[in-house]
């Protein structure tokens, strides 16, 4: 394979990774999982006015299997945890998670018996968006951050390490 021949840092590999990242970066299809107040602001971000589609989030994918970015907007209660975990597990790799709003980030003001104190206890979170709820701009900024993160990713090298070649 190419990365072995070029010592893992070769021109072809880098260009190929850049190409993949470019493709992924320009089409982060979101799974809008709005459960509470933040869902309303997320709708505002998706609707006319802010239009998240300008960033390639063209198609809000309500099926987890076709989504790349899980936008968790709103509280996850303990009753909801299995369902939420299941949705995350159903998403195909590569996947990213935006935790939007105070409730999703840490439970927020609801330090109670029924609220999950942050979705990062259950799934890995890539970007935290504080705010209760954040402005639509805040969510768009988070999506831009996700795009920056994708740009710095090394998908081929990761894959190689996974299957045990190239190191």
């Amino acid at each position: 394979m190419a990365f072995q021949a070029y010592g893992g840092e070769g021109w072809l590999l880098t260009k190929l990774e850049q190409l993949i990242n470019w493709g992924r970066k320009r089409s982060p299809w979101p799974l809008p999982y709005g459960t509470a107040c933040c869902g309303i602001e997320m709708m505002a971000a998706l609707a006319s006015g802010y239009d998240l589609a300008r960033f390639g989030a063209e198609r809000p994918s309500f099926s987890p299997r076709q989504a790349d970015v899980l936008i968790q907007a709103g509280t996850i209660t303990k009753k909801m945890v299995p369902i939420f975990k299941r949705i995350y597990d159903q998403m195909a790799e590569p996947k990213w998670v935006i935790s939007m709003g105070a409730c999703a980030c840490s439970g927020g003001v609801f330090r109670t018996y029924s609220t999950l104190q942050g979705i990062d206890l259950v799934v890995p979170v890539d970007v935290y968006v504080p705010g209760c709820p954040p402005r639509p701009e805040g969510l768009i900024y988070a999506l831009i951050k996700i795009m920056e993160k994708i740009e710095k990713d090394h998908p081929l090298r990761k894959k190689a390490a996974e299957i045990g070649i190239g190191g």
Binding site: Y128, P134, R135
Partner: protein, 240 residues
Amino acid sequence: MAKPVVKKKYTLTERVYLIEIIKGLGLTFKHFVFNVKASFRPGPHTVPTCWQYPEDRREIAPIFRGAHMLMLDDQGRIKCVGCGMCAKACPAQCITVKRGKVAEGEESKYVGKTYPEEFVVDLTRCIFCGFCEEACPKGAIVLGPEYELAQYTREECQLTKEGLLANYYKAKEEGKLKPPKKPVPVAASAEPVAKKAAAAKKAAPKKVEAQGAEAKGDAKEAKAKEAEAKKAEKEQKSEG
């Protein structure tokens, strides 16, 4: 069980169906033409097209409640004295303040004799209600205009003293510091509810029906009510 409904008869245009559809399509087409025209209009984009966020930011209210900042007075001294009133008032308990005594030789940095040795705002918990701002006796903590708060880790969302001050410098540089809040006028005396209800009943005249007469009627109402309220007050005073 749901109730059966006898459907009303559709009118001809409704029955033909195409006419209404064409009307609707015409309406959307009108919007389309309007939007295309508007996008050629010079100047910043306004409502017909979307706000092009990262490049062209929407104007936010000067009193917008964004990330916190620690205020400095005009001599560059930190206003906060670390009393912890904000932490007490916070419904989400997201503020941690540790009070410290100002060391000798550092008096020029702080307004009071004590200062916040540690000041952490957990932005992931914060609900931006603005109660800390209201509770602060010195006007030291203020919710600023910053709304781009997304971070990669939860630790980065902890706003420390340095972050709070950085927010202040940034807001000051951009000229986005909040205008001083006007004090809210408070009623002079607490009146019992029963009296108020009686007075309101007396004062409330019959509903104004005609559209044109509304303005006049309302004016009269208000005047009558004021007079009534004054009377009630006087009565109360004389009683007391």
